[in-house]
Symmetry: C2
Subunit: 228 residues, 2 copies
């Protein structure tokens, strides 16, 4: 089952104590799969179901569940609905989280238009850009100027921000956000943001992702050519 594909989790490598364990990253994967299975009418899953759908081994799935105190039936696997509830309780998905998005360039616009975030409990309540031209992009989808950040953060009790500004502005924007009460940042710029220890940052580096696949493929090809 778990052979024949390179699989990947999202990534987070931590240094503070607010460490996201590998096991928890996988829990997110299981959850994502479970949401889809559930919407397809699947009412019961087994460790191998989740394993097959996420690219890990069944033992790993059970071990992960064990770590978070999630238990199934010794023969009947797990009930989709109650497993979903348990997972969502585990990562505070009982309610929807308001996030803001700063930087409405290419990437920011794509993210802001994505309709499925809400299914995962992610609600982008407002978007911001320093460029006046971008600010009046659309009437139904307002882009605010950075001056209104504090107001919106307070009004919607926002803790988490998505940062999609150019690398030169990233640290500056980050500092402002942290001063305004933001405690978590998803950073798409390729710079390491310096933040106080009470702020969580996750970097998504798309160039690295693509480059690593290119590398793997060329490495694979090299190796195979040795057998010709």
């Amino acid at each position: 089952m778990h052979k024949g594909f390179v699989k990947q989790l999202f990534n987070v490598k931590q240094i503070t104590k607010y460490n996201i364990r590998n096991s928890l990253r996988r829990i997110f994967l299981y959850h994502g799969l479970l949401v889809r299975l559930s919407s397809m009418g699947v009412t019961r899953v087994f460790s191998f179901t989740l394993a097959g759908g996420t690219g890990v081994t069944p033992e790993q799935v059970r071990k992960d569940f064990s770590e978070y105190g999630i238990r199934g039936n010794r023969r009947g696997g797990y009930l989709t609905s109650s497993l979903l509830k348990e997972l969502e309780a585990l990562f505070n998905r009982d309610r929807i989280s308001n996030v803001i998005l700063v930087g409405m360039g290419n990437l920011g616009q794509a993210l802001s238009k994505y309709g499925l975030f809400i299914q995962r409990g992610i609600n982008i309540v407002a978007t911001f850009d320093i460029d006046p031209f971008k600010q009046k992009a659309r009437a139904d989808d307002i882009v605010y100027p950075p001056e209104r950040l504090q107001e919106i953060i307070d009004r919607f009790h926002v803790n988490v921000a998505i940062v999609a500004v150019p690398d030169i502005s990233a640290q500056e924007v980050c500092n402002e956000l942290v001063n305004m009460g933001i405690r978590g940042i998803v950073n798409f710029s390729p710079v390491l943001l310096k933040v106080p220890e009470y702020v969580v940052v996750t970097n998504v580096n798309l160039s690295d992702e693509i480059e690593s696949v290119i590398w793997s493929v060329s490495r694979m090809k090299e190796e195979q050519s040795l057998f010709l």
Copy 2:
């Protein structure tokens, strides 16, 4: 130095032997930083320079370099230019790689417009979409119909594809690509693609990334409220 921020690497979790080691993922991070430092005129770096800029420890940087046979001067650190060359040789960046992009929706369009991929040796030679409306989006930036995939893959010797289609189509598109000779896929859809063992897949799951930050923040807040 390495305290006070949560740091993250891009991610890849492997099952085949074409495993991307953590150390290699970090090598990509060092490289990205080095490119920026280099363009800022920095001619010499130390393990702590790279560590500070990427969120790892200096020991780790040296250990990683050691693993890949990269050596510096016992006192003078590393020369930016020669280190860059060594790293690029390491992951075949002597030449630029042609990749294709399938799915020109929100995300695909953002990716296709990103001008800095080329600096990282990533050249998107063509984009594809099944939607005829998207196909004639712009005269200067042609979006091809899927029928022309094979032709373009062959013409530009493409090995790697970026897949940004809806989850329902992802496996189908993936199968076609593999049949046409693609050996590496960067998959933005939230499904696990089943591929033969000679194909490398990396999944980028943006919902998971955001959700994990939300989780970390709420977890952190909970913990802090215990001390009130």
